[in-house]
């Protein structure tokens, strides 16, 4: 019976519609869905939380002091007393790893966030306004990129002096230009897209187009840039610390630990391995989490 068949078809269409509309989700539903579909992202998230907790609770997790030397037990191999061994000053490696996480996590996240803000703001303005504004911003970015970033960071650190706030500033100033470039390129593409045109047609102002139409569409790229910037920041900081311009010893940061451990790579390899593995883990965790977030937050990538 054609009538009944048609009815069934319509019902099926209704059902499909329902399930599509059913995807209307709040933030926590999204998170729950990510948890269901992407175990790696959940694992990464847990790992990041654990690392943050470990950093915050460091004094309660270890009996040792991060800076007190014990020259009788220099460079001792991992044992029950020192799970990750000791460094060249006889300090417990695990303890320093935990305290170093405080610095390294901050160094990873804060400058990445700041450069993302600064870079995307300048990038979208340059791309959308064009003309002289574009030239000013992008030539500044070019000059920034033309210097080897290490040299630039050294110059800035040298003139600002040490300390963690100055490290933040330096790392931001070194990495904003890349973000600005990428965002500008995206803006140029998006600004000629039909939906921006449609927004202009109903009288939306330039500022609002940048804020509401262009930047949200750059978000997936920004998220990826963010996860890439975190390891870059951690590594740059380690080099700066190595040169004596970043975190000052005896305070610990992972980068600094690798650089001091480098000298003992053959006699005490654990000094490099432990902080190296920590950096690798945190970087991977942020990357996987970024990917997972991307999957659920970008409405275009929703599963059918």
């Amino acid at each position: 019976m054609p009538g009944r068949k048609r009815e069934r078809l319509e019902n099926a269409a209704d059902l499909r519609l329902q399930s599509q509309l059913g995807e209307e989700e709040r933030f926590w539903d999204l998170m729950r869905r990510m948890a269901r579909e992407n175990k790696t992202a959940v694992f990464s998230f847990v790992l990041i939380v654990l690392m943050v907790l470990a950093a915050v609770l460091a004094p309660f997790l270890t009996p040792y002091d991060e800076n007190s030397m014990d020259l009788l037990h220099r460079l001792s191999a991992p044992s029950a007393a020192h799970l990750l061994g000791t460094d060249e000053g006889g300090r417990d490696e695990l303890t320093r790893l935990l305290y170093g996480a405080r610095v390294s996590l901050l160094i990873g996240v804060v400058p990445a966030l700041l450069s993302l803000l600064l870079g995307s703001l300048l990038g979208v303005i340059a791309g959308y306004r064009g003309g002289i504004v574009d030239t000013l911003i992008m030539r500044t970015a070019d000059v920034t990129l033309a210097f080897p970033s290490m040299l630039l960071a050294m110059v800035i650190m040298y003139s600002l002096g040490g300390g963690i706030v100055n490290v933040f500033l330096t790392l931001t100033l070194v990495s904003w230009a890349n973000v600005a470039r990428v965002v500008r390129a995206q803006t140029l593409k998006l600004k000629n897209s039909e939906f921006v045109e449609a927004a202009r047609v109903i009288g939306v102002s330039k500022d609002k187009i940048m804020r509401r139409h262009i930047l949200p569409n750059c978000l997936p790229t920004l998220l990826v840039l963010f996860t890439l910037n975190i390891p870059a920041s951690i590594l740059t900081e380690s080099s700066l610390s190595f040169l004596g311009l970043g975190i000052q010893p005896p305070n610990a940061s992972w980068g600094l630990m690798i650089n001091t451990g480098r000298q003992y790579l053959y006699s005490a390899p654990w000094l490099c391995f432990a902080p190296g593995a920590a950096i690798m883990l945190i970087v991977l965790a942020f990357n996987f989490l970024g990917n997972g977030l991307l999957d659920v937050l970008d409405p275009r990538q929703k599963k059918q």
Binding site: I202, G203, R300
Partner: protein, 325 residues
Amino acid sequence: MEEKILDVRGLTVCFQTAKGTIRPVDDVSLTVPRGSIVGIVGESGCGKSMTARAVMGLVRYPGKVTGGSVLLDGREISALPERERRKLRGSEISMIFQEPMTSLNPVMRVGRQVEEAVLLHTDCTREEAKARVLEIFREVEIPEPEARYDCYPHQLSGGLRQRVLIAMAAVCRPKLLIADEPTTALDVTVEAQILSLLERLRDAGVSVLLISHNLGVIARVCDYVFVMYAGRIVEQAGTEALFERPRHPYTRGLFRAVASLREGGDALETIPGVVPNLLHLPAGCSFSLRCASCRSDCERRLPALAETEPGHKVRCFLAEEGGAR
């Protein structure tokens, strides 16, 4: 005489290119009477869309409106500063595009996109704005407006998206809606629905300037038609007069190039050649290169847009002399 919502006089758009200046819109004059649907028809690249953009004040660099005036409901708008024009866009004059698939922001809920127009041009609160959006959704026959409000564009079909775009353009009740190939990307059944939607908007007081290369679409809804070729208007007439007695060889060619199921048999005719490069337009009639009835005179002098009968104007020497073949 009926009131004119849109009165464009001598509109000219210039593009400065490396090889010279081109005029994709050359001395175009057209009017849209209140409460009517007026069509612009022509091949790709003949300046239809550029005319629409010039009217909206959205010609992009390096293009520039170099002459003419645009009167919207008797008010000169082409000379207004950008800030003033922006206020008009969306509230008094609005536009919809060919590509419903890409004309909506993919990461913004469609309801919010329509709401944006309301919030820009009125003092509504968010709740009032949302109510108005739902109202216009109902008006453009979007089923389940409440549910659609929270959808993202990719969750909607092409026809629904075009309805959303129309809702976005019409939510503030503009005096004039420019529809630039609104049905080209849609299939035929949806096309018919969208066209009747435009008619209903017309009845609700929104005059429409419909741009299309589809003569069937034009014939169905337009009251008056302008035929454009290479940036100029070559013929203008009431729809009936134009379809019954096309005068310009180009218009006739367009009609012959429409496939017809009824007559059958004959191979589909085409107009030989392509739209000429705007950099190398002939000195005379721009259609002379492709015109079967072209005479030596045609290549040297540009015929004027002359009235052959009341309301019917043609830019052709042959028509002036009492009709081409």
